[in-house]
Structures are given as structure tokens and as C-alpha cells.
Amino acid sequence: MLEVKNLCKEFNNRPILKDISFTLKDGEIMTIVGPSGAGKTTLLRIIAGLETKDSGEILIDGKPYDPGKVGVVFQDFNLFPNLNVLQNITLAPTMVLKESKEEADQNAKKLLDQLQMNGREKQYPYQLSGGQKQRVAIARALAMKPRILCYDEPTSALDPNLRKEVEKMILDLKKSGLTQLIITHDLTFAKNVADQMLNVQPLSEA
């Protein structure tokens, strides 16, 4: 369970986020919507530990927040171009979680199977389509066994007709018990997948 309480953030005295509070239950999907400039991405970056918060609290399972429990799928995926699909996924599990190579390979293959990406282990990111890169990015994040998986605009870098596929994939992942937090400006998509929607509005500069 992820709890965010009264989260605030300013950049150069300009308020970006003010008193954001929500609770995301295990296994549920929450979408965060709002126009660009509303601070959606900043919110995600704070939850991912890439940005500091000014005040407020973030709790995971009631305990003070630990960025290691959050996985992130970036808008442009940020796969490592010098590593192939399998290496992209197994790098962190072997180096950080100290899994053996066999164990990490096996987990990665399981994840790729689940995401219908089997047989592409040896390909490099430049050989994949956008949707395929996204699946690898998801597998890479899941291999670190996060409590929550966050997506930054999962539909925006993709062909519009792939939206349905992304919806299906996210709902499939939900069935496997994954808790997901999704930033998007695509309302239809947000409604189709969400258990809960949070609307973030830009703060006036008063």
C-alpha cells in the first residue's frame, strides 16, 4: 500500500504540487491525470526518488518510504542501448540484488514470456519497436521486484492504435497482483484502466 500525505513541492518559489494526498491499495491501479504543466511528472519523480519533496509524507506499507520499492517505466523507456534485452533486465538483479546469473536469466525469461516478448532476449533496443521497448522496460523494472510500478505517460510515445494493447497489458499485470501508478494525459485510457483517478491541476502563480 502506498500512502502519500500532504505532499508539497516548489521550484524556485513557484509551487508545483500542493497538499497532494492519496492512498493506493495493493493490487489496484491509480491513474494521475491533468494537463501538461500540472506537475504530474514531478509527482512521479518524487515517488521514484529522482526528485526531493519539500514537505509531506510518503509511506509504503505504513513504513517510511524507500525508493527501492518503486519501479519506473519512463516515457521514452531509457533502455540501455549497449546491452541486449536480457542484459537490460538482468543487470540490476545480478549487481544489486546479488542474484546468480542463472537465477536472474530465468526470472527475466519468465517476465518476457509473461509480456509476450519471448525469443527476443538477444536483440538490442534499437532493433525493437516502441511497444516492444516498453515491454522490456516493464520487465526490467519488474525484475527488481518492486512493490509498485509507476509509468510516465505509457501511451504517448506509442502509435495511437497501440493504446488498446497497453490497456490490456496493464490489466493483465493487475491480474498478477501488481500495484500500478500511471501518469497520463489520455483520459479515455485513464478511465479504462483505473480503480482510482487523481486529477492534478496546475496551480495559479498567485
Binding site: 527501492g68 521514452d76 549497449n82 546491452l83
Partner: protein, 197 residues
């Protein structure tokens, strides 16, 4: 001697260049100033002057290097500065997203650098480093001002002794050959790194 200086300069100046480039991008201000000053001096004065300074100048303040070590010292310091500028360009062309992806995967700084960033930087900088490598082959002839025997000096001596142009032409041919070999190896390296885009 030409080859010896060439190899050792390359082996020592490359890692030093990477370290210096990290210093140039460091958030620690004093370190940044020192490193920038070093690069400014090394790139702003001729290598020939640096060689003479190290071998003939430093003994005045009681820092004495034997000839070979003096030459290598000057070469490594000079080339590390040039390499550093090339590596800095390489590091800065890496997308910030690569660092962020590594961070959320909880890779530490060392793992991020060695597994993700440096391999990409090497691919980017290879053509520019290649240029410097070729310059280095030719610059190595400068060691003869501090009395080290090298290819050019040998050619000069032979020309004076036999009163013929042949040795100089031969020296030219040998340089061409050395540089062709370097260029070939560099091409192969670039090809090796072309497995991804």
C-alpha cells in the same frame, strides 16, 4: 623508442583522461578549478615546450627525470588533457535518462559508470580519440629534442652520414606504415562497437 613512447602514452593517458574529464564535470568547485587549469596549460602550450620544460627546466628546481621518464611524463600529461576534453564531450552527450534509469534500478555510481555510461562513451569518442592516436604517432618524433633516439633522429643521422635523401624518405614511409596500422585497428574497433546504435 617511437613505439615505446606511443604505447605507454596511450595506456597511461586514456584512464587518466577519463579521470580528468570526471574532474572537469565534478560538483566540487576547487577540484574543477584545478583540473580546468591543468587542461588549460596543457592545451595552451606546445608539447615541445612542455618536453623541454620537464627535462631541462625542472632540474633547476631539483626535480630530475631521466630522459625517457621525462618524455613519457610530458606526453602522458599532455595527451591526458586532450583525451579529457574528448571524454567530457562524450559524457555530456549521454542522455540524462540513462543515469535516471540506473538510479531507479539502484545501481551505484561505479556500476552505472562501468556497465552503462563508459561503454556508450567509448563508442561515441572513438573517432576523435583515433585522430589523437594518429597525432601521437607523429608527435613521438619530438622526443629527439631531449636527446632520445627515435625514428626521425635515426633518419637524420643516416642522411648526414651518407649524404642521401633515401633515409628521410624511408622514415616517411615507416610513419605512413605505422599510421596505416593504427587507422586499420581503429576501424576494426569502431566496427566492433557497431553491434548497437
Amino acid at each position: 623508442m617511437t613505439l615505446n613512447i606511443f604505447f605507454w602514452t596511450l595506456i597511461l593517458a586514456t584512464p587518466l583522461g577519463i579521470l580528468v574529464s570526471l574532474g572537469e564535470m565534478s560538483k566540487i568547485k576547487p577540484l574543477k578549478w584545478v583540473v580546468n587549469f591543468y587542461v588549460w596549460i596543457m592545451r595552451g602550450t606546445p608539447l615541445l615546450l612542455q618536453l623541454i620544460f620537464v627535462f631541462y627546466g625542472l632540474p633547476i628546481i631539483h626535480i630530475v627525470f631521466p630522459r625517457y621518464q621525462a618524455a613519457l611524463f610530458a606526453f602522458v600529461l599532455n595527451y591526458a588533457a586532450y583525451f579529457a576534453e574528448i571524454f567530457r564531450g562524450g559524457f555530456q552527450s549521454i542522455d540524462q535518462g540513462q543515469f535516471e534509469a540506473a538510479q531507479v534500478l539502484r545501481l551505484n555510481r561505479w556500476q552505472t559508470m562501468t556497465k552503462i555510461i563508459i561503454p556508450q562513451v567509448i563508442k561515441i569518442v572513438l573517432p576523435s580519440i583515433g585522430n589523437e592516436v594518429i597525432n601521437l604517432v607523429k608527435d613521438s618524433s619530438l622526443v629527439y629534442v631531449i636527446g632520445l633516439g627515435d625514428l626521425l633522429r635515426a633518419g637524420n643521422v643516416a642522411m648526414a652520414r651518407d649524404v642521401t635523401l633515401v633515409p628521410l624518405v624511408l622514415v616517411g614511409v615507416i610513419y605512413l606504415l605505422l599510421i596505416s596500422i593504427c587507422a586499420f585497428i581503429l576501424k576494426r574497433l569502431e566496427k566492433h562497437f557497431s553491434y548497437y546504435k
